[in-house]
Symmetry: C2
Subunit: 229 residues, 2 copies
């Protein structure tokens, strides 16, 4: 990740910030080199405590923070957006019911518009395709296809101000991400990964996301600061 300096000022980056472990790590790393504009989304998800976590993280890294509302119902039919579908407590084969239709595409499309408005050519997303839930929109081939589409979509792209979509964690294990972030000083007690965290940001310890997170801290040999309910 090399910084792009513009006339003595730091270049701007748009960073997707869910409030989880991965995006917190990306924000910490990116803020070392860019002026960051963090985007979080309210898409009527089950746990809104992750947005509170994102707000704390944006403050910590002196990033602008924009919380964008996505109209209710658009991303229906997932355990994360429909409280009548239970969050599973063991990892599944295939794509789990926590999959949210077109989630990263919607997030990145908003980021693309915001990047163009801010004259930023760099969007960062904390997806990873190693210790992950099998979501299709976390894979490198998806990231590459989105970047290609984005550069055909916009005035900026057509005029040669090429957009770069960065997924710096894509080939890292959860343990590697935690080690990287810890080295960069990330306070993971501020982050919320749980799909059904309570209002205080306490985690269930059982969902996919909690299991991947817990295993990551164990493998990294770093004390897990997660508060479980």
């Amino acid at each position: 990740m090399s910084a792009i300096k513009t006339a003595g000022r730091q270049a701007k980056a748009v960073v997707l910030l869910s409030g989880g472990l991965d995006s917190a790590t990306v924000l910490a790393l990116t803020s070392q080199e860019f002026e960051c504009h963090a985007l979080s989304f309210n898409y009527s998800q089950r746990s809104l405590s992750e947005i509170n976590a994102a707000t704390q993280l944006a403050k910590r890294y002196a990033a602008n923070h924009q919380i964008i509302k996505i109209d209710g119902g658009v991303m229906a039919g997932s355990a994360l957006t429909d409280v009548t579908i239970a969050v599973p407590e063991k990892m599944s084969d295939g794509i789990p019911v926590t999959y949210v239709p077109a989630r990263n595409t919607l997030f990145l499309s908003h980021a693309l518009a915001v990047a163009e408005v801010l004259s930023s050519q760099d969007i960062f997303i904390g997806v990873n395709a190693v210790d992950y839930s099998g979501y299709p929109d976390c894979r490198p081939e998806y990231i590459s296809a989105f970047e290609n589409m984005a550069n055909l979509a916009t005035k900026a792209g057509v005029e040669g101000k090429r957009l770069r979509l960065h997924a710096p964690l894509i080939d890292k294990s959860k343990a590697e991400i935690i080690a990287l972030g810890t080295k960069a000083g990330v306070d993971y007690s501020l982050t919320v990964s749980c799909y059904q965290a309570n209002e205080q940001g306490e985690a269930c310890g059982n969902c996919d996301s909690c299991q991947l997170r817990r295993k990551g801290f164990e493998e990294a040999g770093i004390t897990d600061p997660t508060r479980y309910f």
Copy 2:
């Protein structure tokens, strides 16, 4: 355009419906073969009368109609979303100030989520790249790149329920579109193309969009039913 029948019922299509001439034509044609779910967007655009037009058109073609709000400010800096930027009254070289950042990408991303929720594999958009304003997200290469990305993004795509993104007007002139729609019985007096139409849906007659529309009717030899203010 061939219909895909599912167990005796019509397959569902998601149709982007701005309320303008092109999307009205697409809805009329698509509704002959699909059960249509029309999407319109409130993105704090200058003229909201096009949404009223879309509502009338959806009723006319017995389509479900969903109006989705896109969070204010995301698509800023265009003459269509910022009333301090004047709508130009002559066609410009290059991409005009009426370009809205990532507009079709945001619209299509919502359509992608809705299509997956509805188990629809067909999204229709009324872009055309002949008599158009030079927007990058109306070109065939963009449409193709979006379709490619979409099939990598979703559970449906990964599971082999391939999404098809149809742009049936993409290589047609405005006159050809009007002739096609007129043959299909479209009542163009219901449509609003003007970038700055008033609340009654009356058009300025001078903006890019009005000029392209007027020229289209002239070339098609069809009486222009547009009400000008």
